[in-house]
């Protein structure tokens, strides 16, 4: 899923400082799963902002809605009758949400209420880790089921750098050296040869380097499926 972090409350307060009536718009997709932008978090944010503004002697009216998803115009359209009741909207969806909203409701201001961080999953309750860089050419199977593009700080393709120590990455003591994990697994399996040789130079056009990407599924466009 797409993982996001809360934005500091002061940052959100600064965004909405001129507004008296706003909508907090949550999302039931990834941000609900990673506990940052679902029903509960939207309501907590609304209460927090109200209290903060009250303390400033500058009361604010805040409503909360939560859409099924904000990355689909079908759902984004569901606020068309109410969106003009608000001076601005704080979206708690990933970075896709405020953009789909801005594209549909051109005259309105939509603020991102979270910082979208990575594609990953929960490794334990309350901790999420990155697993995928969305490079567009998946070859996880070449690396024992681990992705060095996303998980090695230098995206190395031929083994650990000199900063790998006791299975930990030198860049962050909380991060495993993914190359240690790959090598250990391959050595245990007697498949060290898989890691030898020079790998093909990566074609980054399928990643962000090729420009913003589109995914086209003709059969869906034609309505066959």
């Amino acid at each position: 899923m797409i993982v996001a972090d809360r934005k500091p409350i002061q940052e959100i307060l600064a965004m909405i400082k001129a507004d008296k009536k706003i909508l907090i718009l949550g999302c039931k997709g990834c941000v609900t799963v990673c506990n940052v932008g679902g029903v509960k978090e939207s309501e907590i944010l609304a209460s927090t902002l109200k209290i903060a503004r009250k303390q400033q002697g500058n009361d604010i009216d805040i409503d909360v809605r939560v859409l099924e998803r904000q990355c689909d115009n079908e759902y984004v359209a569901q606020i068309k009758d109410i969106v003009n009741d608000y001076e601005s909207v704080v979206s708690l969806a990933c970075g896709v949400g405020p953009q789909f909203l801005s594209e549909m409701y051109r005259g309105k201001k939509f603020y991102p209420g979270v910082n979208t961080t990575f594609f990953g999953g929960a490794v334990q309750h309350g901790i999420w880790e990155e697993r995928c860089a969305g490079c567009g050419t998946c070859s996880i199977h070449d690396f024992g089921g681990f992705c060095p593009i996303a998980r090695c700080a230098k995206s190395l393709l031929h083994g650990p750098c000199g900063g790998s120590s006791k299975g930990i990455c030198e860049v962050n003591p909380d991060t495993i050296c993914v190359w240690d994990a790959i090598v250990t697994k391959k050595m245990e399996a007697g498949e060290i040869e898989d890691l030898m040789g020079v790998k093909g130079f990566k074609d980054w056009r399928t990643s962000r380097d090729g420009g913003p990407r589109r995914s086209i599924r003709e059969e869906l466009i034609q309505g066959n499926i």
Partner: protein, 310 residues
Amino acid sequence: MSELKSGSNLEKVLKAGYFAFTGECGPPKGANVAILKEKFQYLKGNVDAVNVTDNQTAVVRMSSLAASRLMVEEGLEPNFQMVCRDRNRLAMMSDILGAHALGIRNMLCLSGDHQSFGNHPQAKNVHDIDSMQLIALVKKMRDQGKFLNDEVIDVAPKMFVGAACNPFADPYEFRVHRLANKITAGADFIQTQCIFNMDRFRDFMKKVVDMGLDKRCHILAGVTPMKNAGMANFMKKFVPGMDIPDDLINRLKGVDKKNQSEEGICFALEQIEEFKQMQGVAGVHLMAIEWEHKVPEIAQRAKVLPRPVV
């Protein structure tokens, strides 16, 4: 190896079977050519080639390419270091061509320290290709006379291709395989990370010799003289991939503070003596970090002077 690949002094010295002795020079944090030239004087005549570091520890310094050229002009031979952190494949190939055009004939291909350790930790890193692929790229440009996309190069860059090896990082069992892969990719010579744990390095070199890697590549052992016990402690605690045995720290601590640098140099000299005899070791790479003025003395006392003229 009958024909010279780049014709560099380092290549000739190694090919002729001499025990090579290379040095290192970090470009200044500024455009201070005078200070660079002063450092050159300590190295000139005392080493076969000098590594010119490329924004080492991810701290911005004068470009390694420019400093390498300044070195050529002063009659020293540079070993131009290039890291994958700061350049994509276009910039790399362009700089490789430029390096050849400027009279540079050795290159050391590195991944590069992560920018989070440097003085611009906010920077975006590149890592378009990695050090293994950089080795293969320089070799392709030299031997096939082609760019990565197979277009023909008009006057191919001739480089003696170097790579690094850290026998002290984990996972240890894989390190010799990674070295083998770098040699297969095209490394003509290897310079190891600073060696302090001699037991481990002896074991590593045994593996290297058993696999016959020393016959396919020239391996230079990395030596850094410790200035004092504080430096040893710092490196042990804060420099990733460094293996500093307590024995060495205790040895340095065991003498008066004012004599610790001499003790550090003595340890380095003992290491160099052992490397001269060690099977598979073709030379020493002396990294006297911000201590270039000590190189003449160390070279003299290590009995590696005069340097061969090939």
